[in-house]
Symmetry: C2
């Protein structure tokens, strides 16, 4: 909720009054806002009770309330030279649950968002196959489909943190992620249709955008759980997410989820293209580069409170919430600390726990008004524990851009304002 902006000073007074009467978490009473003092917002009729509202023909495709106008994707202009080869970020601090609405899923383009008429879109399969093929969208719609909720995280998400706390807001530190329900055809079915030859061990996926994005994908993954997807959250893919067709590579870095998918070439070795050599490799201290680091390891972040979502209500009952995910399975457990790691508390998970999907956690506490050092630590279904940034740097140095899944810290001051900091 973007209450921050909408509370006028008089509202703040009311809120303070109600908060002052509460705070006794231990006794089970969270918040008292007694009706002893007549509140004109209860006793008098507001305009929306006196006059008819909008009819059902007002918005064939609806939009959020005007009071939610700040809940949007945001860019960081200085991050990239041009906005057609750039990123915007999901407003994680304004969201709850696990589903990301399609309109605010982060974008990453390399040549702008291609706008394609689905009638003119084709998917070709060539290379080491028995029968090279070209599919129309309607052809693809005749294969059996599956539905899965998956997170998509850019490998560069949280990349600015390798060298220390940089960006002030979890929208910017962690917002290169979204989590939607994808509908698509298992890639395996299309490859079986073309007939992959015995030496076909790699796949090159190519986009139809001006960047001609390409990535090499091992055949084992392609035949396992990849989808050729045409819907997200029930409706057609959004243009900026690859309409009409994108590759879904569950649990692996977002760069491989080729958008505007036009071609799949089967080969016997990887192609070593730009996006898997110059980019999306991890330069270590000794000059070696880690390559083909595809899986997104377990990670979490506290979305509230956070720099863009301070505690506005003062001391007393406070809801801490955040998200966690792993490219290797589910997240059975998240721990949180209020004091920079001295004491850890098991968070409460709520919502569907699905394979390679975002998970939502909560920790309710009674804030005494003193400064906090907030951290969360995810543990995935393989037993892997999200590392500290220090632990990551020990093995990977500070040259990396990608695959920073270290524990994030927010410092909260006595006024409830939060800041991105490093500890340790």
């Amino acid at each position: 909720m973007s209450d921050k902006k909408s509370f006028s000073p008089s509202r703040r007074t009311f809120l303070t009054a109600s908060a002052a009467a509460g705070g006794a978490l231990a006794s089970g009473q969270l918040v008292h806002a007694q009706a002893a003092t007549p509140d004109p917002l209860i006793t008098e009729a507001q305009p929306w009770r006196q006059y008819l509202g909008a009819g059902v023909d007002a918005a064939p495709y609806g939009m959020p309330s005007p009071y939610e106008s700040e809940v949007v994707r945001r860019t960081v202009p200085w991050l990239t030279a041009d906005l057609v080869s750039s990123i915007n970020f999901t407003p994680l601090h304004e969201l709850d649950g696990i589903i990301t609405p399609n309109g605010i899923c982060f974008e990453r383009h390399h040549g702008g968002a291609a706008e394609i008429d689905p009638a003119d879109h084709r998917l070709m399969i060539n290379g080491l196959v028995d029968t090279p093929m070209v599919f129309t969208m309607e052809d693809i719609m005749r294969f059996p489909r599956e539905n899965h909720v998956y997170f998509l995280e850019c490998a560069a998400n949280t990349g600015m943190e390798w060298a220390g706390a940089q960006l002030n807001g979890c929208q910017f530190t962690h917002g290169m992620i979204h989590n939607v329900e994808y509908t698509g055809v298992p890639l395996r079915l299309l490859l079986e249709e073309a007939g992959v030859q015995t030496n076909g061990r790699w796949l090159l996926a190519e986009g139809a955008d001006a960047a001609g994005m390409t990535r090499s994908i091992p055949m084992e993954k392609a035949l396992d759980d990849c989808l050729v997807a045409f819907k997200m959250n029930g409706e057609a893919l959004r243009v900026e997410q690859g309409y009409p067709l994108r590759l879904v590579v569950p649990g692996w870095e977002g760069n491989m989820w080729i958008k505007w998918l036009r071609r799949l070439e089967v080969g016997d070795e990887p192609w070593h293209h730009r996006e898997e050599t110059s980019k999306y490799t991890d330069l270590l201290e000794d000059g070696d580069a880690r390559r083909f680091t595809w899986v997104m390891d377990a990670k979490s972040v506290i979305t509230n409170p956070s720099p863009q979502a301070p505690i506005l209500h003062g001391p007393g009952p406070t809801v801490l919430t955040g998200i966690a995910w792993s490219g290797r399975g589910t997240i059975p457990r998240v721990d949180v600390t209020l004091d920079g790691g001295r004491n850890w508390h098991q968070a409460r998970m709520s919502g569907p726990s699905l394979d390679k999907s975002m998970h939502r956690f909560y920790y309710e506490f009674d804030w005494d008004g003193s400064p906090l050092l907030l951290q969360s630590r995810a543990i995935d279904s393989t037993g892997y524990v999200q590392p500290t940034k220090e632990q990551l740097r020990e093995f990977r140095g500070e040259n990396s851009i990608y695959h920073n899944n270290g524990i994030q810290t927010w410092f909260v001051n006595e006024n409830g304002e939060a800041e991105n900091v490093e500890v340790g």
Copy 2:
């Protein structure tokens, strides 16, 4: 996919060519669209490969592709006297998976959609409680939250079918339903805060809209799984869905999910207001009326093919899909028939199977081009089997408007065009 409108005549020719080469479902080959004939859409550069697309600052809150402009909510003007007390319908035939995007969730208002500043919204709890209370939105945000994907179905959904096949399209026969992830505070926690007195056995929920919608809810349900919700699919509720606060009454008729929730009164008996006497009761043949028929029983519908989504590709491999749901649990099984009930086939379920949530089913078959009588039949986790319309009418007559969960039939002719019909 709204391919129907976007295929130009030349595209149709191409499609026919590719379909003609396929069709051998039994051999494992679904669709052949061989690249033997050079296709200019593969061999030549399209505009979207030659020119940069839109940048990441183009749409802070994004919208669907212009090619999806027909995927919208639709009204049926003659159904109601005025559009501020009316319905629009979810375009089910254009969707897949289980999540309904927020922008196209059906609406039902009784006095128009109230537009409320969340800073000015209050929720009062009064009546048989120890401490009458008034909550601001921020107060509510300090209670523990939960996340659940639930369907919301209007009791009048499919109501026009009591007297026989009426509306031609599953958007109109079954589109008074949506399925989203809700985030909210368990109603139980707010009631515990106020302290429900021992004789408090009913709850009156009241909306802040001009209609002042009210419904009586038994305390047992209120304390069980109801939520006071403020988010849907991750973001704030939409205005037309009760922003900033609505009641969620899982598995029960949509009319009880009071929008713009402003008051909860605790009492010792139901209030017998308009919406539970004159409306939302089921008049039987003998003049008696069934009352308090809250639960939405198991139901399903085939969304594709259907009257608004004909088979365009001619004979051969065909994907049949639809949705199923039950207010009493999950849907472990759906059966479908192609011949009006002579032969039933178990459908394939795909996607999350969640309590009181929509489920997605598929049945792939090789259409020989002869006419079809399509039906689906849901079986829920209690073992309840979706009845035929005939079975329903036997007990409930034809006076009813509400709670028609009978089996729906689409007739598909040799051209693939579908029509709403009655069988038996």
